[in-house]
């Protein structure tokens, strides 16, 4: 592999495993880890595209486009970043983990909690939750955040989050009620990934914005639910 443009946390790549005309479009995935010659992704099997990726073998060629999108902004000096992830959304915030970073991580059940060992190597401040209680707190990551945030007593908490729709909706509600700043990585169907097709928009206070170009990370203040 050739040396590549280094991504920043929260950016994503478009991958294509298919060599035929079906499936046709590339699939977007957040960058998980990287070094000079490797890119690593965490991919949850969903439909045809991810299954084709799963069936690839060492030595197969994959078509990679990226890094794309904006990535997470750095927290201001006096802010304390708090990460919130749901399921495979951990991939997006994982590169933000540093020694001691606080992470609220939830999933439907323990089988959908990924990378726990890698996470634990980086930080002990993890709040694990599962909907079915099979691991950690029984409930979702946002409920846990709401319960714990005041107790944590951190200075200027700033949320960095990625997860499924329901979690994001609850999070947005909480952050806006409490006036807490935050950055959330959004998902939308994509074709081009480079801002040309206008396929991937979400509603913001300034009208539709492209998840692949102005996003995937948006300031919570921009978002219109």
């Amino acid at each position: 592999m050739q040396p590549h443009v280094r991504p920043v946390p929260g950016q994503f790549y478009l991958l294509r495993a298919s060599e035929t005309l079906d499936p046709l479009l590339r699939r977007p995935f957040s960058i998980l880890m990287w070094d000079d010659t490797h890119l690593e992704f965490l991919i949850r099997l969903k439909g045809r595209g991810t299954h084709l990726l799963r069936n690839m073998r060492v030595g197969d060629r994959i078509d990679v486009l990226g890094p794309l999108g904006n990535g997470y902004p750095d927290p201001l000096k006096d802010e304390t970043p708090i990460l919130v992830a749901g399921g495979v959304g951990i991939a997006s915030v994982f590169p933000l983990l540093h020694a001691g970073t606080r992470l609220f991580y939830g999933a439907m059940n323990s089988a959908e909690l990924y990378l726990l060992d890698d996470i634990k190597k980086l930080t002990g401040n993890i709040f694990i939750c599962t909907d079915d209680g099979s691991k950690g707190f029984k409930g979702n990551a946002v409920e846990r955040l709401i319960e714990s945030l005041d107790d944590l007593a951190v200075a200027k908490p700033t949320i960095y989050a990625c997860g499924p729709e329901g979690m994001i909706a609850a999070l947005l509600k909480f952050l806006s009620e409490r006036g807490i700043p935050g950055y959330i990585s959004f998902e939308e169907r994509m074709a081009c990934g480079i801002g040309a097709c206008l396929g991937c928009v979400i509603k913001t206070v300034q009208g539709y914005k492209r998840v692949c170009k102005e996003g995937p990370v948006f300031n919570v203040r921009e978002i219109v639910c």
Binding site: R189, A191, A196, G199
Partner: protein, 307 residues
């Protein structure tokens, strides 16, 4: 090897154009493609005033194709002229402004304004959009309405005028003749086919707009057939599009009668699709000893008495 082709009085250095709406305003692809190497850049469809477009989801993948319901989101003619055109003028490449309106007056006003500025080399009218005055009717499906709107635009522009036909019609050759008679310098086809997809879990349409336009390789056989139908019906040049993924597909369109081709959905699959199509065309010419690309236009060999 002569790759140049003419679209009316507009000369292109090669026949590879971009399909409107799939190449943004050009700048999005500048880091992947040397824009000056293209035959022409056709920009995202413009309206007199900016448009918000449809709510998401706007895109669905389908077998060997995709549906889109962008809803003609665009920054409007004025912002295009001020913010996007100067960038494009840096490159030695013809710029074609694709545009549309909700009424004949809006078409005319947009065409007038776009004809008024330096740096726009041609106009492409998209007539596949709903006609507000006529309810659900589309400008591109009723020959009388098509004739009216094309004639009106023809009166106000001296630029080469390309009419982009809708494939959702019974008789595309008739629509092309109507456009020609109304003063078009060229026709462009095919635009997307009206389609739809349903999420069987939620029972909702996969597109917020319910229906959308089908593009990509899936529709190529329909595009080839329509170009061939139109080629035998009109004398003005044809810009062929619909599922062109490589040089071979482009050659297929030219053999059917296209003078030039527009690359659309392929840009999403590979951002270098336009230049890859161009080099594929060159390879074909080399392999087959073709000196002038125009010589293959309509070069389909066929014999049938009943057509």
């Amino acid at each position: 090897m002569n790759l140049s082709v003419n679209i009316g009085k507009l000369g292109l250095k090669n026949p590879v154009m971009t399909a409107s709406g799939t190449f943004g305003y050009g700048e999005e692809y500048a880091e992947f493609v040397d824009l000056a190497s293209l035959g022409a850049i056709v920009v995202k469809g413009l309206s007199l005033l900016p448009r918000e477009g449809n709510p998401p989801p706007r895109i669905v993948e389908t077998p060997a194709g995709m549906l889109n319901a962008i809803g003609l989101q665009n920054i409007g003619v004025e912002s295009f002229i001020e913010e996007k055109l100067p960038f494009l003028r840096q490159f030695n490449v013809p710029v074609i402004a694709n545009f549309f309106g909700d009424s004949v007056d809006e078409y005319v006003a947009a065409a007038e304004r776009l004809s008024d500025v330096q740096g726009i080399d041609g106009l492409e009218m998209n007539i596949s959009c709903p006609n507000k005055q006529a309810g659900w009717l589309v400008f591109g499906t009723d020959p009388e309405v098509t004739s009216e709107v094309v004639s009106a635009v023809r009166k106000v522009t001296g630029l080469p005028l390309i009419v982009k036909l809708s494939p959702n019609v019974t008789d595309i050759a008739l629509m092309a003749r109507v456009a020609e008679d109304a003063g078009a310098d060229a026709v462009s086809l095919i635009n997307t086919l009206s389609g739809m997809a349903i999420d069987i879990k939620t029972r909702r349409p996969k597109l917020a707009n319910i229906t959308g336009g089908l593009s990509g390789p899936a529709i190529k056989p329909i595009g080839i057939r329509m170009v061939w139908d139109v080629f035998r019906a009109v004398n003005i040049p044809i810009i062929g599009s619909g599922g062109i993924m490589d040089g071979d597909d482009a050659i297929e369109y030219m053999l059917a009668g296209a003078a030039a081709v527009a690359v659309g959905t392929a840009n999403f699959v590979s951002p270098t699709a336009t230049v890859d199509v161009l080099s594929g065309i060159k390879d074909y010419m080399t392999t087959n000893g073709i000196k002038d690309i125009s010589s293959i236009k309509g070069g389909l060999i066929w014999e049938r008495e009943d057509l």
